[in-house]
Amino acid sequence: MADSTQPASFAFDTESNAKIPTILAKYPPGKQASAVLPLLDLAQRQMGRTTGSAWVPRVAMDEVARVLGMAPIRVYEVATFYLMFNTEPVGKYHLQLCTTTPCWLRGSDDVVQACRKVTGIKGWKETSADGLFTMSEVECVGACVNAPILQVNDDFYEDMDAASTEKLLEALKRGEVPPPGSVKGRQTSAPEGGPITLTTLTFNPAE
């Protein structure tokens, strides 16, 4: 835990506070501790919104513990268990690279190399010098049919290769956010180059 980066305090802002009652209402009375995951997520998003770095500092965990009336250590346990919660600051764009077998077979190594080349990051969990990117290695993100996947914050960019990765990151550097999904123009996970079966079927709502 890098103490030097920990902020001194954290409080939910108006936007987050508006959501808390809705979240708490989902759980039966006395079981508010169940809301620890959504509240941590809320805190992480608020950090991303306000500071540009979506992470959960320790003071935010303490605040969640206070709101839910649980021991802080119970929140620490949850926040450190789930890898989607960043317990250390990340860049504006959190590049989550899947290197599990399907993505790896489809060329995730090239994607990783391209990311390293563009951002100048050497190892995992490091942030680029300009503070824009953090690279994380993640296990299967569940979109193997469109492998390899590069997840940027919440969005999946699919069917990546070295060239498209470089293009995407350059665009992010310029401040543009390209539309997520398959960079090869696939419709969801339909075959590349259009359907190869049931080609005669047409969809006619009138029938």
Partner: protein, 686 residues
């Protein structure tokens, strides 16, 4: 009851038991790391695997599998053995092979079970993981690489100690047990983490690298550093007590021990009185027993009995107190007192000063009022019992006194005796709660009694108990919580002013010419009159010894065979583990020798005889260890006017839990704890 067959042995266990308990009932040993009968079931070590017939053909974790009627369990089948070997191999993957330098070596569950249930060789050649050690304060040493993630410590701190500060952070191979934010554990029961840790991850910091368990001589004894009377085992090597561990006693301490009782041992080696001292020309000089006795006898010559007085200290054993009382009687004095703090205890009836509900009885109670007490500091083990009761189900707890974190929810009604009055006249809503309860109880602390209106508070509490149905034929809900191990024994022996005798206040300020202090250090010695000749008999050079004219070196509780009565009135015996240092002697023998010296010999020459004298003085001393429970036969209250309450708020009776007596004040470990946990007190003292 459910019938279960374990390895061909048929046993009956209560429904809802788990398979492990059934196996224990059948006398079969089941290896385990995470399972602990006083903690919740985690089921994560997988060491307790057994085979169950007519169930899916796989090994079951017996600690987390409930029994069914007609279940047939095998604990030693080839499948079970193979499964346990596999589990052990996994556990040892990341466990370092540092047993030779590990303090747990020789009393390590992992070591024992690896021998009994593991394989004889390792197939693992990869690197082991290493984990950074955590700093959990001055008492618990951590070597986290040895941790096998049984989570017992996490469950203990959350459930029993009530300080949820330990947790398992991160996941998988990076999982670590710790506090995440580095801090010392703020529990008075943290030493028990050392006992429940099945490996060497949590060990005792003061005892680190001191001794191996097989070098130690173990002596069963009783703790005296608070009034709970926890059963302890004193581990000594040669003339030195090295550590103190709890001993199982379900009725008193279960298997826990408070930190002060466990870690004050190093105080037994410091500031010891090991020879007689006699003051000559205004300066204390070393002397022989002969010279010391001569000095006292010379002072006694020509003194009338009413100019002689005695005060019993908080750590005194019953034998020495009865001997001192008899000596005073032989000198013609009735000036006796044991209440150094000035607590208005009424010795006329045992019910007035006992913890009548009994410690185990707390678990039966269904409402509790705490008056002027902080059980967490005054008796951590009783506090743990109350917490256990709170966790077991609805148990309204209210407190009158300074607010404190007792590790469970307490409804603080206010800090003034006036609240007691409003409970008495029924205007306070909590009075109705107490009345509605079947087995309500009240705990009166010394903080409520050691004040000018103490007698009134005691009487008011008794009256409240009578009004709210605490004093029934079957249930006695009136409790006084003591902090001094000697106090109940002293009151049982009548170590209070006799007829025309003077109490402590009257004896001070020149009320007597010779004052005999039996380990009495807990009052302001500056109040003793300048002309009073003070004989201090005790084991530590503390306040009393500093004021003394003659010092007689006595024995500490690990150095004598002593009888102690705990706050519930349970008579227990401690045994001699090591001999007193130097010229020091067992206290009752000193008094017996002095009585012979002045030709007024006390009529007992050995332990059996003085214990017979104890029984004669009060029949309760005949009944050791057991505590029959009585209802309240007589609801007449103690002397004191229940309405004469003052307006002064109650004050905390113990400021610093870690230093309350000569032994813990001499202990460097306790001084370190004070520095860590009571930084404000430390500054105030300087």
């Amino acid at each position: 009851m459910v019938k279960v067959t374990v390895d061909g042995i048929e046993v009956e266990v209560p429904a809802g038991s788990n398979v492990l308990q059934a196996c224990e009932a059948a006398g079969k040993e089941i290896p385990r790391f995470c399972y602990h009968e006083r903690l919740s079931v985690a089921g994560n070590c997988r060491m307790c695997l057994v085979e169950i017939e007519k169930a899916p053909p796989k090994p079951f974790a017996s600690c987390a599998y409930p029994v069914n009627d007609g279940m047939v369990v095998h604990t030693d089948s080839p499948m079970v053995r193979k499964a346990r070997r596999g589990v052990m191999e996994f556990l040892l993957i990341n466990h370092p092979l540092d047993c030779p330098i590990c303090d747990q070596g020789g009393e390590c569950d992992l070591q024992d079970q690896a021998v009994a249930y593991g394989t004889d060789r390792s197939r693992y050649e990869e690197n082991k993981r290493a984990v950074k050690d955590k700093n959990l304060g001055p008492l618990v040493k951590t070597v986290m690489t040895r941790c096998i993630h049984c989570t017992r410590c996490i469950r203990f701190s959350t459930e029993v100690a009530g300080v949820p500060e330990l947790g398992a952070t991160a996941r998988g191979e990076s999982m670590e047990v710790g506090t995440y934010v580095e801090k010392a554990l703020t529990s008075e029961l943290s030493g028990n983490l050392i006992d429940i840790c099945p490996v060497g991850a949590l060990t005792s910091k003061p005892y680190a690298f001191v001794a191996r368990p097989w070098e130690l001589k173990k002596t069963d004894s009783v703790d005296v550093l608070d009034a709970v009377g926890a059963n302890i085992r004193v581990d000594a090597r040669g003339p030195e007590v090295l550590r103190i561990l709890p001993r199982l006693n379900e009725d008193v301490n279960e298997e826990w021990l408070a930190d002060k009782s466990r870690f004050s041992v190093d105080g037994l080696k410091r500031r010891r009185l090991d020879s007689c001292w006699v003051k000559r020309d205004g300066k204390l000089r070393k002397a022989s027993w002969q010279e010391a006795f001569e000095a006292i006898a010379a002072k006694l010559a020509g003194l009338s009995g009413d100019r002689v007085g005695a005060v019993a200290g908080n750590l005194a054993d019953a034998e020495s107190m009865v001997a001192l009382k008899d000596l005073m009687a032989a000198l013609g004095s009735a000036n006796l007192d044991c209440r150094q703090d000035g607590a208005a205890l009424d010795a006329s009836c045992r019910d007035f000063y006992n913890f009548n509900t009994s410690i185990a009885g707390i678990e039966e109670a269904d409402a509790l009022l705490i008056v002027g007490s902080n059980p967490r500091r005054e008796a951590p083990l009783i506090n743990a019992r109350i917490r256990k009761r709170v966790l077991a189900g609805p148990f309204p707890v209210a407190g009158i006194g300074p607010e404190a974190d007792l590790t469970y929810g307490v409804d603080w009604l206010g800090n003034a005796p006036a609240v007691l009055a409003s409970l008495l006249d029924g205007t306070h809503p909590f009075a109705a709660t107490l009345k509605a309860a079947n087995k309500p109880m009240i705990i009166v602390g010394q903080g409520a009694l050691a004040r000018p209106d103490g007698a009134a508070v005691l009487a008011a509490c008794w009256k409240l108990a009578a009004q709210t149905g605490m004093l029934g034929a079957e249930w006695h809900g009136f409790n006084v919580l003591h902090t001094a191990a000697s106090r109940v024994g002293a009151l049982d022996l009548g170590f209070v002013p006799g007829s025309k005798g003077k109490g402590l206040d009257a004896m001070l300020g020149g009320g007597v010419d010779l004052l005999w202090l039996l380990g009495a250090d807990e009052f302001d010695t500056a109040r003793i009159g300048a002309g009073t000749f003070v004989v201090y008999q005790g084991h530590h050079g503390d306040r009393g010894a500093a004021r003394a004219d003659v010092i007689l070196p006595g024995a500490a509780y690990t150095e004598k065979n002593g009888t102690y009565v705990n706050t519930e009135g349970r008579v227990q015996r401690g045994q001699l583990a090591v001999y007193p240092p130097g010229e020091a002697r067992e206290d009752w023998k000193i008094l017996r020798a002095f009585s012979g010296f002045i030709d007024k010999p006390l009529p007992y020459d050995n332990l059996t005889a003085i214990r017979a004298r104890l029984e004669q003085a009060n029949p309760v001393f005949a009944r050791t260890n057991v505590l029959p429970r009585f209802g309240c036969s007589d609801t007449a209250g103690p002397a004191g006017e229940p309405t004469a309450l003052s307006g002064a708020p109650f004050r905390p009776f113990i400021e610093n839990y870690y230093q309350t007596d000569p032994i813990s004040r001499a202990s460097p470990t306790m001084a370190e704890c004070t520095e860590t946990y009571m930084p404000t007190l430390r500054q105030a003292a300087e």
